[in-house]
Each structure stands twice: as C-alpha cells, then as structure tokens.
C-alpha cells in the first residue's frame, strides 16, 4: 500500500484507529437504541423509556443485562451451524466495512503522552484505492446474515424474511452504485480521502450542490441498505412477526442489532464524506466535531423518517427501485458525463 502523506503510517497508528472506530461505533450503536426510542417517543408524544435511572438512561444497562442473561435458543430442526454463524456475519461485515471509512481527520499524538507520543493516526484504518467499492461490497456481504438466518431456522416467517432480503438487495444495489457513480466521475477517484479533499472549500464546495439528485437517491438506497423504516421489509413485525430474527434470542439477536446500527453509522459517514464535505474544518468548528454533527444529523434523519412514514410493500420497493430510482440515476450519470466532457 502506498501513501502520499508526509507522516509515516505505522501499524500502531492503524491499530489505534481501528480500536477508536470499533469502540466509538459499538458505544454509539448501544446508545443509539436509547436515542432511537427517546426520539421516536418525543415525536409520537409519549414519554418513552423513563423508569430506569434519570430520563431512563439506565434502560441501556437493563437491556444489556436482559440480552446477556436470556436463554440462547436454537430451534430443534434448524441448521445449527448456519444458524449460529448468521448473526456473526452481519456484525463482522459491518465492522469490516468501517475499516475503509474515514470517521475522523488524521491526527498525531502530542509528544508529552507517554508511549504513544508522536504516533500518527490516519483518518482511515485501511486507505485503499477502491475504498468506496470495498465498502459497498462488504456491506452487501452483510446481507448474507439475514439471508442465512432466515433460511436456516426452519420457520415460515424466517424464510419469507430471507426471500425479502434477496429481493431488497437486488433492488437497491443498482441504485446505490449508480447514484455514487456521478460524484465518482466528478472527483475522479474511488478513495474517500480524495472525496474529502475535493470539498475543502467551505459549504459552497460541497458535492450536494453539484449532485442534489444523486444525494437523494443515495439516501433512499441507504435507507434500504440499512433496513430502516420505509424499507424495513425484512423484519416487519406487523406482517411477518420478525422475519429473519423470529427464532433468535439473547446475544445472537443483539449481534444483528449491533450490525444494523453500525451499518447506519457507515451510511451516515458515507453520506457526510461524499456529499457534505466530510471531516474538513468548518470556520471555527474543528473537523472531528463537524463529522460528529453530520453523522448525528443523518442518524436523526433516519429516526425522523421512521416516525413520519409507514413502510412500503416489497412490490412497491421493487417498483420504486427499478422503475423510478434507477432511470433517474442513469439520467443523472449521463448528464454528469456530458457536463464533465464539455467543461474538461
């Protein structure tokens, strides 16, 4: 791997970065469940979790204890091996995708810190040339989790959930790729660091002004990718009990949740870096705070949409993806291509 940076990227720096990303995302994923319930409650005019601790903050600990101590149940006629592997796939691929995502700007530990003084921590744990493609591939591989979970558990709701996983994946994947293609053509690189450096000139240089359509398409596809509410067909309670998680309990169920929240954060970071300026400093606000604010905004947007919109049917999702979003994305790519050709 070659680096053009002045600082030397050492394995210590990469390890620290990976640790930071892992810890922060796990913590946010846990805290996110509380935030989600509180925000949804606030939008629906009810108190939400309020009994355990101040403002219900300790609900998180209560949920954790419940998950840890719950019986780990495996149905008798299920395929035990695949049933056990499936949740790990979801959680692991979510974190593998994060390896190529820049979460915070790179920094160097000050010299006065013992042991770690002077260690350079890069913005991405693994800055590969094809960062965007790698993230897409890893997140797509994550869908094997729901698919295998549904197919292995010998439960009709599970198999419907698995079938919906396949349908949903084949529908939105094209839109995700095509919507990202137009910004890629403008930047001329697949590396997320180049995306960030392309938009360093303040708000006016953000990609969202040049590619508003691609931004909207990417967000819609991102909602489908993370199974957020307008497209949460995989486990929609009112229709198929819990879909692919019907037979899961305890920590295995928790792993699915951690994976889903990590994916939400990945999509939020991607949207911030590709379309909204990434981790560059903004006036007086340092880059890492800007990044936190943007990710928080996208996280809130997901909850907001969940509180505001009913979910769609699978056939409506396919109709939307193939007949509306894909032609729009193609049109966007063609127009961008013509503009790039004329201006270059």
């Amino acid at each position: 791997m070659e680096t053009t940076m002045i600082h030397e990227v050492t394995w210590v720096g990469v390890a620290i970065k990976a640790l930071i990303a892992m810890l922060i995302v796990s913590a946010v994923a846990g805290f996110g469940t509380y935030i989600e319930r509180k925000v949804l409650a606030w939008m629906q005019r009810r108190p939400g979790p309020s009994h355990v601790g101040p403002f219900g903050l300790l609900q998180l600990a209560a949920d954790g204890i419940k998950l840890f101590t719950k019986e780990d149940f495996i149905p008798q006629y299920s395929n035990r091996l695949i049933f056990s592997i499936a949740p790990v796939i979801t959680a692991a691929t979510a974190f593998i995708a994060l390896a190529a995502v820049p979460i915070f700007p790179d920094f160097t530990f000050p010299e006065w810190i013992p042991l770690l003084g002077g260690v350079f921590v890069p913005s991405i744990a693994a800055d590969i040339d094809v960062g965007l493609l790698f993230i897409l591939g890893a997140m797509a591989a994550g869908l094997y989790g729901p698919l295998l979970a549904g197919m292995s558990q010998q439960n009709k709701w599970g198999i419907i959930g698995a079938a919906r996983t396949a349908v949903q994946f084949l529908s939105y994947e094209v839109v995700t790729g095509l919507s990202m293609l137009a910004p890629i053509m403008l930047v001329g690189s697949l590396s997320l660091v180049d995306f960030n450096n392309y938009q360093t000139g303040g708000i006016a240089s953000w990609m969202i002004w040049q590619q508003p359509l691609a931004f909207v398409l990417f967000l819609i596809a991102g909602f489908a990718e993370t199974n957020r509410t307008p497209f949460d067909l995989l486990e929609h309670e009112a229709e198929i009990i819990s879909g692919f998680v019907t037979e899961y309990s305890g920590l295995r169920w928790g792993l699915f949740f951690v994976g889903e929240y990590a994916n939400m954060i990945t999509i939020a970071v991607l949207a911030s870096v590709i379309f909204m300026g990434g981790y560059s400093d903004f006036m007086l606000i340092p880059g890492w705070l800007m990044m936190g604010l943007k990710v928080t905004f996208f996280f809130f947007l997901m909850l907001w949409v969940r509180a505001s919109w009913p979910h769609v049917r699978p056939d409506q999702l396919m109709w939307l993806s193939w007949k509306v979003l894909m032609p729009l994305a193609l049109l966007n790519v063609v127009i961008t291509g013509i503009v790039v050709m004329v201006t270059a």
């Binding site: 006629y77 592997i85 094809v130 493609l133 897409l136 890893a138 797509a140 396949a166 690189s189």
Partner: protein, 195 residues
Amino acid sequence: MTTFAFYFFATLITLLFLVTVLSRNVLYAMTALAAGMVLISGLFFMLDAAFLGAVQLVVYVGAVMALYSFAMMFFDANKDIKERNGSAVTVFLLGGAIAVMLVVIFTAPLIGQGVASLYPPAEGATNPQAVGLVLFTKYLVPFEVAAVMLLVAMISGIILAGKKMDFSLSVVEATKSIDSKTIDNMDNTEKKGDK
C-alpha cells in the same frame, strides 16, 4: 507475511470449494461458495490488484445471492438432497480433464518464468485508473462486445418475464370474490322478492 497470507487464503478457499462440491446440503454448499468467492478477493488484494478484488467482492456477493434465491424456491434448505451421479463415461471424462488441468497448474510456474506483461500499468496511475486505461484502449472491442451481450441478455429477460406482466393473480382473485358476492346478493334479493 505475504507467503503466509497466500497459503492461509489458498487453504481456506480450497476447503470451502470442496465443501461446495461434496456437501449434500444446499445451505452448506451455497454458504461455502459465497465464503470462497469473498476470500478469493483477498488474493487479488494481496497482488495489489485492489480494483479487481473489490469487483470480485461486489459482483460475486450479488451473483451468489441470486443463486440462493433459486435454491430457496426449488429445495428445502434444511434437508439433504439425493444427488444423481451421471454415467460412468461422464465421470471418467470430467475426472481426466481435471487431472490434466492439475498437471498444467502445477507446471505453470516452470512454463511461465519468461512471461512479461504485454501492457504494463501506466506510470503513476492508481489501480482503477490503470485498469481503465487498458480496458478502454487496448481491450475496447471485447469490452463493447461484452456490453452488447449483456444488453441482449437483459432484453431477452424482459421479453421472457414480461409476457404476462399486466396479469395480476391477486387482482383477478379480488374481482372474482366481489363478483360472486354480488351475484349471491342478487340471488338473495330475487328470492326475497319471490317470497
């Protein structure tokens, strides 16, 4: 380190594909296939062909996912399948072909020592750029032919699937039930009128 990584990946890939071929359970076979395909991308990354590695990941994850959906439709995923092994002649021919292939693979390093790259990657180009440069200059014609083939496949797919697109079973069922109900009601009213 690289040697270790290569043997690690190679062993895992071979084992997983063996499971794919030998297992009688659809779920095991498909899962091993998917995992093997994902691990092959690791070999590409080791060769500094990051673009091909990512493409391998993206393409095969989707392709195997489509295979899964077929498996879901045709088989009970949690039961073993009785395989029909074809005639002895086919087995003999296939086995012979595989043996020849193995010999070629193991002698390849001997033959390929003097091989040099015809189109070495351009100076200073990143991996995707290098692939793009060769693809759109030297190999433009095969690339276009592949694109046309995909277009043909897409159009024929639409034609095959689109024959009865306007026909919706649920709509037909709904109108049927409404019709029968209204007919029943009409019968009832007629009977009442008779009384």
